[in-house]
């Protein structure tokens, strides 16, 4: 039996040696650990930066990054998991997709993984069971919302970055009075920007971040009361400042309009940094969502987007251990710094302090130290039912900005949709 196993191993390593000559040459003793991912854009970063950095510390653990196309990832991964051919490391989508994999046993619990202590509860919220008992992915990166502005426009008009709500509207009024630039560049045609770059961007300051979001989940907060209603009301004040004919402007149009210098302020997400800096011929500045006047504490949407987990079906303990070693490294400060610098705008979720070469990315990252982080209100648990909470937010935020409904009507509609199926909100 041992002989058979040995022959098999030799044969396997022979075949792999042919297929993966460089990897097999550096370490003949183990087949590479395979990373499943949808980030095929990042393949060079993994091959040239991240994996070599890991191997500098752990030369005995070969790793290959094997991405599939983003749109096919979920289906391809499921097929591989069912067929038992999935890689040892699995890149995790946030919330229910990964939760489903964990519940089916395809992701292992990582509660005792060394390095998990480097992540806050918000960072882990997208990859944790509803009762908080099991974490199953190492958080990798988030995207942060805020506002970009055209520094040329601001200096021409003698404006400064606003920090409070009244300063924000004073700046918008000044830009509008001047008339050279559109004050706010955002369209409502695609609808999602209204919710994601609008409502979820400025909202956390009104609903006190996690306090409000968790309140919705346990039923103590409502969309049509308090902070959430205030967020809808704040959003409705954007209407007069939006670029002309914004109802017909789609996301790529708004992006181009801002980078071509037609507008002064762009409600944004940090993933835009690399694209915008390449396109715009003016310097881009960033300010965080304005706080209501008199409020000291600020809150930002620091939305969990990507993580990495351990395949729950690995039979060979040595390979599982090697994969866990890699995951611990993903949880380390070194990875946080390498990853955030390679992909400006995708910020490591680690508590470790990371310095970024990209000034704009660094500025947005610094907000984490100044404000409390939260994630988008509709992503955890609340979008499991019908009508879908996220879709309701898109539609009603867009209608609100289009002036079809009032903030109260938008809030009531979203709340009614949630109450229709979500038991904790039905108590009264």
């Amino acid at each position: 039996m041992t002989k058979n196993k040995l022959t098999g191993l030799l044969a396997a390593s022979g075949i792999l040696g042919l297929l993966l000559a460089p990897a097999a040459l550096t370490s003949a003793q183990m087949d590479p650990i395979v990373i499943e991912s949808w980030r095929n854009d990042d393949i060079t970063i993994w091959q040239d930066v991240l994996i070599p950095a890991f191997n500098a510390q752990y030369p005995d653990i070969p790793v290959v990054f094997a991405p599939s196309a983003p749109a096919e990832y979920n289906a391809a991964l499921n097929a591989k998991l069912e067929g038992g051919t999935a890689g040892e490391l699995i890149t995790c989508r946030p919330f229910d997709v990964s939760l489903g994999l964990f519940q089916a046993g395809n992701l292992a619990s990582l509660n005792d993984l060394a390095g998990m202590e480097n992540f806050s509860d918000v960072a882990k919220s997208a990859w944790i069971t509803d009762d908080g008992a099991d974490v199953f992915c190492v958080p990798m990166a988030s995207v942060i919302h805020g506002f970009f502005y055209n520094t040329d426009a601001f200096s021409a008009l003698g404006l400064e970055e606003p920090t409070t709500e009244s300063e924000f509207y004073a700046v918008l009024d000044a830009i509008q009075a001047d008339g050279t630039y559109a004050p706010l560049v955002m369209g409502t045609a695609d609808q999602w920007e209204s919710a994601t770059m609008g409502f979820q961007n400025i909202g956390p300051n009104y609903w006190m971040g996690e306090e409000g979001r968790l309140g919705l989940i346990d039923g103590t907060a409502k969309y049509n009361e308090g902070g959430f209603l205030a967020a809808f009301e704040a959003l409705s004040r954007w209407t007069p400042y939006l670029i002309d004919n914004y109802q017909g402007i789609a996301y790529p149009d708004a992006q181009s309009a801002f980078t071509l210098g037609l507008g002064a302020i762009y409600p944004t997400g940090s993933w835009e940094i690399s694209g915008f800096e390449a396109q715009a011929d003016f310097e881009i500045g960033a300010f965080r969502p304005p706080v209501p006047d008199g409020q000291e504490q600020c809150y930002i949407s620091d939305h969990t987007d990507i993580a990495m987990g351990l395949n729950g079906n690995i039979s060979d303990p040595a390979r599982a251990e090697a994969a866990r070693t890699f995951l611990s490294w993903v949880a380390s400060e070194e990875f946080a710094s390498l990853y955030s610098n390679a992909l400006p705008g995708f910020f490591s979720l680690s508590n470790a302090s990371v310095t970024l070469d990209n000034a704009l990315a660094q500025e947005m990252l610094d907000w984490r130290g100044e404000c409390e982080s939260t994630i988008r209100s509709s992503y955890q648990i609340l979008s499991r039912g019908e009508p879908n909470n996220e879709t309701d937010l898109w539609t009603n935020s867009a209608r609100l900005l289009n002036g079809e409904i009032t903030a109260q009507e938008a809030a009531d509609t979203v709340q009614a949709g949630l109450e229709a199926w979500y038991a904790p909100q039905q108590g009264g």
Partner: protein, 311 residues
């Protein structure tokens, strides 16, 4: 010949089966079976105990779709939009096609061929291409539509972004794309009318107007019927153009939502909405019933009464 004649008198016509088999098999496997399987699926729902299993629930999916406080308005909205989309085609596309065909039938063959080709070209373009071209033309920032419409005194407007205008605009884009098909059908029918009939009418003193309404139009009525049914089936199956231009959410505020986009969102899911194959099958079932009813009404109620003239 003799040898054949001496054979058994009524030999089973095997060749008919051979000739029918390919069409029968292909239709059965790829059309009939999936259709009935989809209708079957619409009577099931995921088991609440174990979501992987499906259990029989009768017409519950249809009941939920049509009567629930949240999906009811979506279905009604999509149905109303679809009816309006169909009306735009019947009132704009088909009369324009008839007009173009009448004009083209009267001009010299070579000139006619150029116009015919030009008008027919958009129908062979992909929806994605047409949607993209029109998105750019109508774009409020860099589109040319506002300049052109300014010439006739219309103010700039985000035509695709306002709930009042989006569906009409979309309908007209679809008309622009597809006017060539009914035009061709009408043209063929008009050309097929014998010259003698028209000449006889003229000798009797009929004007061009009279010739059209009393001779040509009654003679091409069967084609009008066929065009109407094709428009009906095509419009109630429409999806691509809306998806390309407005996305699966068919905004603003579902004002361009057709049954096709509603089906897509339900069956495949959308953003954080999980997919629901059984509910999606029920939407498809509703679409099937609507189209079936329309076609049956046409076949039994209208086509049977149309007179076919043989020359």
């Amino acid at each position: 010949m003799r040898v054949l004649a001496r054979g058994p008198r009524r030999k089973f016509p095997t060749h008919i089966i051979v000739f029918l088999a390919p069409a029968f098999l292909i239709y059965t496997v790829f059309m009939v079976y999936p259709l009935f399987d989809s209708l079957r699926l619409s009577l099931f729902a995921p088991d609440p105990e174990s979501p992987q299993e499906e259990t029989f629930v009768g017409f519950q999916n249809y009941q939920t779709l049509l009567t629930s406080e949240f999906s009811g308005p979506r279905v009604q909205g999509a149905l109303q939009n679809n009816v309006r989309f169909f009306a735009i085609h019947m009132l704009v596309q088909n009369p324009i096609a008839l007009l173009l065909a009448t004009l083209l039938a009267g001009v010299a063959r070579r000139t006619g061929a150029i116009y015919r080709t030009l008008i027919f070209t958009p129908t062979v373009l992909s929806f994605v291409l047409v949607g993209f071209i029109w998105s750019i033309i109508l774009n409020p920032i860099w589109g040319i539509a506002d300049d052109v419409l300014g010439l006739v005194g219309l103010d700039a407007a985000p035509w695709m972004g306002l709930p009042e205008s989006a569906l009409n605009t979309l309908g007209l884009i679809s008309v622009w794309q597809f006017v060539g098909i009914p035009m061709m059908l009408f043209l063929v029918a008009i050309i097929g009318i014998p010259e003698e009939v028209i000449e006889a009418a003229r000798v009797d003193g009929a004007t061009s107007w009279g010739v059209f309404w009393r001779i040509k139009f009654p003679l091409i009525l069967p084609t009008v019927g066929v065009v109407s049914v094709l428009t009906f089936v095509g419009n109630f199956n429409a999806f691509d153009l809306v998806y390309t231009m407005q996305g699966a959410l068919a905004g603003p505020n579902f004002s361009t939502d057709l049954l096709g986009t509603l089906f897509y969102r339900t069956f495949f899911g959308f953003q954080l909405t999980p997919p629901s194959p059984t509910m999606g099958a029920a939407v498809a079932g509703i679409m099937f019933m609507i189209i079936l009813t329309g076609v049956v009404v046409y076949l039994l109620g209208i086509q049977a009464r149309l007179r076919q003239y043989e020359f």
